[in-house]
Subunit: 505 residues, 2 copies
């Protein structure tokens, strides 16, 4: 059928067209079916929406995704024919029915995800069935390989390529800024791609961006890594394992993180950059993604097995994720803390011990030492971490003589003071993150939270518990209001509970 | 934050807005989050899409669903604030995690579905988790009640209200056109709402529409039923159990029909019209929705139990669904067959026996007789069914003296002849439907298939097996091509199989 194009000036992230109800009946398609749109010898398969009175008979609403792909302009006539759904929709149904998918089948699905051939309904069905039905190790391996193969990859001609990854969930986790230069200073190659925050206050990419450009292409990542040994880039600027970004678009609104997807997503990114030795940080504890050490161990075992199948070496660090790492949350505050720690050769023990511990694991895996922690600490104390970090910053277009003093923090501040005398019994991850985000993080780089007192530290009445930093007054106000209503740092005396809990007046 | 509206001239079926990437970061929302759009004292909560370069900073893309609701015009300034997701998203997560939902919780979800407050991702998650996690009878009852309460209902002041429903899946199932007038002629009230075809060649509403107007409002359905005893209307034109239409939009592209949804959807429609006695047709067999009698019995038990909980009387007919009912498929052909059967007092035994059997069940349930089949047959043979059917047609704006001879069938025809001598061993439902749809059904009312030979009938070489009817030559051609490639009527001699199966030449 020939229809006349009405260009709808918006991108929807997939090939989609809008038909008049009568035309769709004439063609024999309903909402969610596919049509092939042909124009001047090119064609795409698009999913059908039915208009509610807006697209006249003989017209077809064409979103920019389609019009740009085929070069269709307002008023052009296009050919529209029904086509069957992509094979991957049948394969997703197979998974919904509890069946195992084959290697080629998973490739087919992942390829269609990358090429935006699936509707949101279909993509949701894939992700949710992975969550509810699950996958075995064959399927996870095949999905990981498909995610690698449908994106860009890096091959280094020489050198030992290593990497690290945190599954996330603990605030203030700026360890990559110390780990990457430390292992690079030992001669290893570490082409680290990192995320931006989705629900957190600052992703590693947001933090690094305070000091340098993180929007690097795959060829820039390769060139810089070969030249200075390491890089900290934003993975989203590359086309490495692009299926993951699409999948996250579904996981996030449902707050689900299916285990097969988690494993495949991490391992695909590491496999795509050619890493041979990878350390994975699994924060556990109250308020972290993984609640218990036992569950952390199970996940660690799965990472190791998947690494074995994919041909690379995995070591997992199960880490304390029950309170923030270091004392800062928010891009500029975290960049400053990491840099200051390297400048002074000392800092928060949670930050330092974790960073050097994981760096040490990587040094051991690469066969450079049998006592990685000591070697990492030596490199760190000899200033090698700082020196290499500045080289990396400079290679990424930043200031090579950058100092923690240069980093600009939000000028609007508010201090939450303790109303009690006692000791800190809890620092609540989710409240700290919420406060930092309300204050403007990660968008406002200078916004965030400084934690004066962490768990076990003694505090007097009137002493500061946290300082909130913001760039804008109204954001400071909303963060402050939340912090007063929802204290993030819990101080208790010796009496932890009283019964009855109410006081008589 | 104040943003200037760009009206996007399309309805998307839910409240949704498009933000510039930087503005969304400033507000602190990402794709899939919600914002409250306030304008001149009114507001709605809308889900956020992030533009890829098309919405400038300071602008907000507003789809018609939102702009019409709030009266926003191009260039108007609107207030935009982040809000948390609807409670129902948390409740859907609860179901995903395998937990039981409460009565108020299911009401909350169904209400948000009806009010278009859920994104496609969220709605898909609800439907798919019902499929994979399931629901117990409490939940199904509560969901059914919520579906009734969130839509229009009918209350009849007097009379015995009955109804019938088929779960579908068997082609040519025009039994309602005989059942409704037969039971109405006995003095019962039967306000039958029917569906249009989605994947079939003709829904009961499509078939009835050949003879009368089916787009009736709830008040018209009530008025006509009170006046003449029965009606056959399109349910989609009413606001009866409107959640169902939204849910089908997700079920269809995934080809899933979760049992809790199936039960709730049928029972909500019957409950909403105040039916006290309902007969449910469950076609079973190869090519039907339900494969085995055993599975049919299980479903029947569930309908009966749900009816008991909702306070109405259910009887199920497990029927033969392994080949089409009667000899015709397609709106006009089916209307003609049903009418001709009533005019002549005889017809295809599969159509007649099924129609009168189900009509008889209803007469028994309503307490009019202890031998319903005999009573229904008597009414039918005395011309009462035909007389009442014409009254109903007339009440719905059709010709009260309509005769089967008046019904116009597609003029383009093609006859598929038998190449073999033998007996028909199979009539394949899915192929018959596909041929009728390719020929133009249900859109082209005159398109469809006439089946000359059904299972067990003897056929000679050159005798017609089916005749394809179409209104348009190109549709006839595509139906014909498919029918030749995929014979819908399978003829076999005495030798059913040979081994080895290839012939030596």
């Amino acid at each position: 059928m020939k229809l006349t194009a009405t260009v709808l000036p918006i991108k929807v992230g997939r090939y989609s067209v809008v038909l008049n109800h009568d035309d769709s009946a004439e063609i024999g398609v309903v909402e969610g079916d596919r049509v092939r749109i042909s124009f001047r010898g090119m064609d795409v398969s698009a999913s059908v929406q039915i208009a509610t009175g807006l697209i006249a008979r003989g017209k077809i609403g064409v979103y920019l995704d389609v019009s740009e792909e085929l070069g269709i302009e307002e008023g052009d006539d296009v050919d529209v024919h029904p086509v069957s759904r992509p094979l991957s929709v049948e394969l997703i149904r197979k998974k919904i029915e509890g069946k195992k998918l084959g290697r080629e089948e998973l490739y087919e699905i992942i390829e269609d995800i990358v090429e935006n051939n699936l509707t949101e309904i279909e993509l949701t069905a894939f992700v949710l069935s992975n969550y509810l039905v699950g996958m075995d190790f064959d399927e996870i391996e095949w999905m990981t390989r498909a995610m690698i193969e449908t994106g860009e990859t890096i091959e280094f001609e020489k050198g030992i390529v290593v990497d690290k990854h945190s599954i996330g969930g603990v605030p203030g986790n700026k360890v990559s800024l110390i780990i990457v230069p430390t292992v690079a200073s030992a001669g290893l190659l570490i082409p680290k791609t990192a995320s931006r925050a989705i629900t957190s206050a600052s992703g590693t990419a947001d933090t690094m961006e305070v000091l340098a450009n993180v929007n690097l292409s795959v060829s820039e990542i390769k060139e810089i890594t070969e030249r200075v040994g390491g890089v900290i880039a934003w993975g989203g600027a590359t086309n490495i394992a692009p299926a993951d970004d699409r999948i996250i678009r579904v996981e996030y609104p449902l707050s689900i993180d299916p285990r097969p997807q988690l494993l495949a997503s991490v391992m695909a990114k590491k496999g795509a950059v050619g890493a041979r030795h990878v350390a994975i940080d699994i924060p556990v504890g109250k308020g972290a993604k993984i609640a218990s050490t036992e569950e952390g161990r199970k996940l660690a075992g799965e990472f190791v097995e998947l690494g074995r199948r994919l041909g690379f070496n995995i070591a997992c660090a199960i880490t304390n994720g029950s309170q923030p790492i270091g004392r800062t949350i928010g891009p500029a505050l975290e960049a400053r803390e990491a840099l200051k720690t390297m400048e002074e050769g000392r800092g928060s023990s949670s930050l330092l011990e974790k960073s050097l511990g994981i760096a040490g694991m990587i040094l051991e895996m690469a066969g450079l030492t049998s006592d990685g922690y000591t070697m990492a600490k030596e490199l760190f104390l000899r200033g090698k971490s700082l020196e290499k970090f500045r080289e990396i910053v400079s290679a990424q277009g930043g200031d090579e003589s950058v100092s923690s003093k240069d980093i600009v923090i939000g000028e609007k501040t508010f201090v939450v003071e303790s109303k009690f005398e006692g000791a800190v019994v809890d620092v609540e991850n989710s409240r700290i993150v919420r406060i930092a985000r309300l204050a403007g993080a990660p968008k406002d780089k200078g916004a965030g939270v400084y934690i004066h007192k962490k768990r076990g530290e003694v505090v007097k009445v009137g002493e500061p518990l946290i300082t909130i930093y913001a760039e804008k007054e109204w954001k400071l106000t909303q963060a402050m209001e939340f912090a007063i209503e929802n204290p993030p740092v819990i101080v208790s005396g010796m009496i932890l509970e009283r019964y009855p809990s109410f006081k008589y007046v």
